[in-house]
Amino acid sequence: MAGVWLIPLLPLASALLLILSTGKMPRQLVALLGAGSVGLAAICVALLARDFLADGEVRQLTLWTWLAVGEFTPRIAFYIDGLTVVMMSVITGVGFLIHLYSIEFMWDDESICRYFAYMNLFVAAMLVLVMADNLLLLYLGWEGVGLCSYLLVGFWYRDPANGRAARKAFIVTRVGDTAMALGLFLLFTELGTLDIQPMLVAANSHWQVGDSLPILATALLLGGAVGKSAQLPLHTWLPDAMAGPTPVSALIHAATMVTAGVYLIARTFGLFLLAPPTQEAVAWIGLLTLLLAAFAALAQSDIKRILAYSTISQIGYMFLALGVGAYASGIFHLVTHAFFKALLFLAAGAVIHCLHHEHNIFRMGGLRTRLPVIFWSFLIGSAALAALPFTSGFYSKDAILLSAWEIPGIGPWLWAGGLLGAMLTGIYSFRLVFVVFFGSAHTEPDRQPGWKMATPLIVLCVLSLLGGLLVLPLSGVFPPAAHPAASHAVEYISIGTPLLGLLLAYLLFLGRQLSIDTLADGPLGRGLSDLWLKGWRIDQLYDAVWVRPYLGLSHWWRNEPVDRIYNALVSLCQWAHHRLCALQTGQLRWYATSMVFGLVLLVAIMLRNAT
C-alpha cells in the first residue's frame, strides 16, 4: 500500500494548519480538523490492517534518504509488520476516541486550537515512532512525542507548577533518551547500520549470546525505554505529568507514549536475546516498578495520581513480560492496557469535568447514581485493570504471569511478585471505585457528560471487556513462545489473587469490616502511608542527588569563574600601570636627574662594551 505515508501526514498537516491559523479558526472547524484528521488516519489504518490481515505481508516504503554521509545513510522510510499494525491501530483508534472526547472536554478553553494542534502533532510523531524503519527515524518520533508531552503537560502554562511538571517530564525522559542516543552510536559504530531489520541480522552474525557489546548496547537502549515508559529509576516524571488536561493523560501518559519503551524493546528484541543479563534486568526492573508503584498508588488521594501510579505499575507488567521473553503477551497487555487505562482516564476526566475540577477522591463520593455512565465505565475499567476474570486485562496479565512462572530459576519469584502486584492492583483500583462512587456525596456534579464524551467511554468499555478476545497478528514478528504448561494450581492462584484484592478493598473501604484508620494510625502505618504518598521519596532523593547539586553548581559558576583569569591579567596590568605611573612625578628636576643618570648609565655601558 503506497498511501501509507498519508497516515502520519494527515494529523501532521492538520497540526500545521492549526498552528498557522494562530487561533483565529472557529471552534467548530478546529474540532472538525483536529478530530477528523485522526479519524481519517484511523480509517486508513483500518484499511491497511485489513490488507495486512489478508496477506500478512511486511510492507516497506522509502520516502527519501534523510542524509547520506559515507556509510551512514538513514532514510525516511516506513516498515510495517504485525507489531506496527497493532501499534498504529491503537494509536489512531484510541487516539480518535480521545480526540472526540476532547472536543467536549476542551470546548470552553480559549486555547482549544493550540490543544488540538499539539494533540495532532503528537499522533503524527507517535505514528512515525512506530512506523520507523530505522532507529534514527524512530528517535525522531521518540523525541517528537516527548516534545508534545512537554507541551501538553504544560498546556495551562499560567500555573508555574504545570510548567515545572512539564519540564520535569521532558528532562527526566531526556536523560533516558541520551542513553538511547549513545546506544544508537554504539550500534552504528559496531554494526554499520541503524536500519532495524538489517541491524538485527548483522547483530546475530557478529555477536554471540552473552558478549559484552550487545549487553552494553541493550542496556543503553533500555535506558531510553525506562525513561519513556516511566520505569525505575526514571519513573518520577509520570505522576507529576498529570498536570496536563485529562485527555492528554489518557492518550499520552496511559495509552500510547509511555508504552513506546515497551515497543522499542519489542522491536529490537533480537538484540535483547543476545544479552541475557539485560533481558533479566528488564524483568527485574519491571517487577520492582510494578510493586513500588502499586504500593504508592495505595496511598494517593488525587484521582489522576492513582491512575498515574497504576500506569507505571501496569507498564511494569509489560516490562516483566519482555524480560521473560513473552513479547507477544507484553504487547497484548499494552493493547488491553491502552483500552482500559484510556477508559479510566477518560472516566476520571469526566468526573473532574462534572465536579468543577475536583481531583481529591475523598471529596467525591456517592456518584454511582448521579453519574451512571461514568460509574459503569469506571467499574468496567477498574475490573479490567484489576484483571478480574473474563475482562481484557485478565487475559493479558494472566499470560504474562504464566510466562514468568515458566522461567527456570528466577521464574517463581517473578511470578510471586507479579501476583502480589495483582492483588495490590485489585485493592487500589477498587478503593478508587468505592470511595468515589459509593458512600455519601461530598460534591454535587453540575453537569452530565454529553454524547461526545459518552460515546468514547462506551466504545472503550466494550473494548475493555472484550479486548481479551482479540488475536493480534504478531506471530510473524516474535519467536513462537513455548506454550505455557503450568499446573492448574498456578492458574487458579492467578485468577484468585485479584479477587482477593477486590475483597480486601471491599472490606476496607466499603464494608468497613476492617478499619483502614487503625491500620494507618500506627507509627508504622503512618510512616508507610506517608512514604507511599510521596512515591517512596524518590523525588526527594533525586532532588538531593541531582537537582540541588546542579543548581548549586550553576549558582557557583554563575559569575563566570574563567573570567577571573582574565580579570587577574587585567589586575596585573593595572598594578604595573600604577607602579609605572609613580615614576611620572610631574617634577621637572626629577626628570632631568633621571635623564642624567640614564645617560651616565648608557655611557658606562658603551664604555664597558668598547673595552
Binding site: 609613580a582 611620572q584 610631574g586 621637572l588 628636576r589 632631568a592 642624567v596
Partner: protein, 104 residues
Amino acid sequence: MSGLQIPMEHVLALAGLLFSCGLMGLMLRRNIIFMLMSLEVMLNAVALAFVAAGAQWGQADGQIIFLLILSVAAAEVAVGLGLVLQIQRRFKTLDMDQARRLRG
C-alpha cells in the same frame, strides 16, 4: 697662527667644569629661571668645546656648530621665557616643584 694656543686638556676641563656646574644647577635649583640659566651654561660649555676643537684641527665645523648652538640657545630662551611667563601666570610661582600637574 694655526692650532690652539693653550693645551686642549685645559679647555676641555673648563668646558667639563662649566657643564657640570650647569647640570648641578639644573638638578638642584627649583626656580625655573635658574634652571634655564643653568641650561644656558651647559650649552655654552658644549659650545666652548666645539670652538676649541675647531681651532685645534683648523676646521670651520666647530665654529659652525657654535653658531648653530647660539641660535638654538636664543630660540630656546625665547620659548623658555614665554613658558616662564605662563607658569608665573598659572601657578603664581616659579618653583618647579609646585608646578607638577602632569604627574601620573
